[in-house]
Amino acid sequence: MSKNVVTANSVGSVSLKRKKVSRSSEIWMRMRSKKSAMIGLIICSLLILVALSAGFLVDYQEDVVTPNIPERLQGPSMEHPFGTDSIGRDIMARMIYGARISLCVAFAAVIFQLIVGTLIGAVSGFYGGKVDDIIMRINDIFASIPNLLLAITIATALGHSIINMVIAIGVAGTPGLARLVRATVMSVKDQEFVEAGRALGGNDRQIIVAHLIPNCIPPMIVEGTLKIARVILSTTSLSFLGIGIKPPTPEWGNMLSGGREFLRVAPHITVIPGLAIVITILSINLMGDGLRDALDPKLKR
């Protein structure tokens, strides 16, 4: 009879160990079991692939920026699968390059936000007190200006280059992220293992590296993913309003905007880039949602 007890216990400890070792593969399993998240992931990967290989697929001077007036406003055909725009450029070629630009701006702006926002939020949350007070006061003032508006103002002041776009959108999204990081840091800071680390004589830097950062990473991954979708939305919105990246540089928002006056005769100029934006944002959001559920199964009920 005591034998039974032993077996039951050992079975328990084995399964416990297995759980610990394969945390990342468990996350992947959960992610894979969600169809919508996988569809999002596949579409995102394809988009990134297209963006990376844009240089091989089309010739920038010839296909993307040079006008070809005789072939203007053509609907989709074998030669031009997505048709041509108001000065006869092939829309598909421009969209392929546009993917590169939109994704580059998005990634760069989000990385900007993650670095600056994490720095501000982590310092503020970790030190608390006066430092936190001052930083958060300033942060809140920035946050009180609506995102898109702040981006518009900065973009107006700086001018319309791609770099300026990254800065404008990066700065505009930073205050929100800093708040999130601060909240996460504060909640982690009070947890037992940090106290334990302190009690064992760890210094600030060790504690930040060993405990705070690893615990902040999962929410950051999710937030970062969803941010990319929001940033794409902002970038294209600015371009649409004529404040963002200017033609002839192909960007989905300005391509779409350029089709507005031809809505009656050549709707495809507006419809197709818009569809691309929707599909891109949708797949990123699906992926982000799936990632959130996979990283934090407790949230999913």
Partner: protein, 310 residues
């Protein structure tokens, strides 16, 4: 309660002044020269340029400009538009009714869509309706409203000819802008309603309510919804505040003469006082709506009310 409101309004002042200062300095270091933009197309002489610069007060050091602007702001003076020569505040007030109308109807459309779908999706979690509702909401948050607006225009104005493609007037002019803005708000609001309801319906007091023998309708509406409303009101209020500050994109698509258009035009024309004035007004709108939302919380939750009167 009135003390709470007073305190909140007091707290608003430094935030709005701070935001104004940020916007002022960003635009002051602009690479665009408002003088050149104003005189564009006239081939001005250097004397003309200098004179205009003096007229606009742009020859003084930025710090001086800043304090004179802030001084005006504290008296409620938002400056004078470079282009029309009229006070910015007057221009703003002239445009505001159109924006208010659009913001209100968009709110109506958004609430009408999001609350029922969110509630049903939550109580029938994982059902076909939930899948449908969440797909709708996901499409809503993923569709840029400039594209949605143009697609509605393509269908209802260009192809079918049922509605005018833009302008300001009766109900027929309002439908597409309100639906464009409202549905793009509804995506997030639906998701919020669902998640908030899901959170509430697994609370113990919902079980208590069911154990009393109440019908599901009473349980959901009387016991669950009122508790779930706070995050929903937060999101909807946030969206409403922003729409009040000018739905720049929707107004641009449908040539809706609201404050969003005023601001975008100001940007394109380098009309700095108009832009700063609009931003300040927008911040005020957002803050006032936020305050309204916070006060509304007190009516939803007696615990919050108790906190305010403390």
């Amino acid at each position: 309660m009135s003390r709470y409101i007073f305190r909140r309004v007091l707290q608003l002042i430094p935030v709005i002044l701070g935001a104004s200062a940020i916007i002022f300095f960003i635009l002051s270091y602009s690479t665009q020269d408002p003088v050149m933009m104003l005189l564009a197309g006239t081939d001005p002489t250097p004397e003309q340029i200098e004179m205009t610069r003096q007229q606009l007060g742009l020859d003084k050091p930025i710090v001086v400009q800043f304090f004179s602007y802030m001084g005006g702001l504290l008296r409620g003076d938002l400056g004078v538009s470079y282009n029309s020569g009229r006070p910015v505040f007057q221009e703003y007030i002239a445009r505001f009714p159109a924006t208010l109308k659009l913001a209100f109807w968009a709110l109506f459309v958004s609430v009408l869509i999001s609350i029922p779908i969110g509630i049903v999706s939550a109580i029938k979690q994982y059902s076909w309706f939930d899948n449908f509702g969440m797909t709708f909401a996901m499409l809503g948050v993923s569709t840029p409203n400039f594209w949605l607006g143009l697609m509605l225009m393509l269908l209802f104005a260009v192809k079918l000819g049922w509605l005018p493609s833009g302008g300001y007037g009766g109900l027929e002019y309002l439908i597409m802008p309100a639906v464009t803005l409202g549905t793009s708000q509804a995506g997030l609001a639906t998701r919020m309603t669902r998640s908030s309801m899901l959170e509430v319906i697994r609370q113990d007091y919902i079980r208590t309510a069911r154990a009393k023998g109440l019908s599901e309708r009473v349980v959901i509406i009387k016991h669950a919804l009122k508790n779930a409303l706070i995050p929903i009101v937060t999101v909807v209020g946030f969206q409403f505040g922003h729409a009040l500050g000018g739905a720049m994109i929707t107004e641009t698509i449908f040539s809706w003469p609201g404050v969003g258009r005023l601001m975008i035009d100001g940007i394109h024309k380098g009309d700095r006082p108009v832009v700063i004035g609009c931003v300040i007004m927008l911040c005020i709108m957002v803050s006032v709506v936020n305050l309204g939302v916070d006060i509304f919380y007190a009516f939803l939750d007696p615990r919050i009310k108790a906190g305010y009167t403390k």
